[in-house]
Symmetry: C2
Subunit: 86 residues, 2 copies
Amino acid sequence: ADAEAGKAKAAVCAACHGQNGVAQIPTYPNLAGQNEQYLKLAITAYKNKQRSGGQAAIMQGQAAALSETDIANLAAYYASLPAGGK
Amino acid sequence: ADAEAGKAKAAVCAACHGQNGVAQIPTYPNLAGQNEQYLKLAITAYKNKQRSGGQAAIMQGQAAALSETDIANLAAYYASLPAGGK
């Protein structure tokens, strides 16, 4: 996976999940330093509409446009950021 | 919410999510320092079987036994832990 490509793709994610992967909105998760494999599973579950409740409808829409490669790159990028931000 | 009560309830969570909220298994999320409100939404979504895919079946089972108070206390506890562990 290509974390640099993930970073480029992450511009839209930052609105809710923060520029550094620390969410600006308390109902959204921080992503910085999260496990890469978990992030792939989570984004894929949103893409497959396997997650509802909470703010999931927003992520269903966002993830629908992502390819498997996009998802892997985004997961690599957010996993690479320091937990808690900086 | 009562983070101390959450800590007591979290013993079973630690098997996958780590003693310090940093997961031992890469397909599971770290919980340390995650946003409290997000954690409540996420656990509630598992309890309501609104999340499938990935390892969600395990969390559906775990969350089924939790009351709203348990969920709030667990969310407060994990949110209180330092992101990235210590």
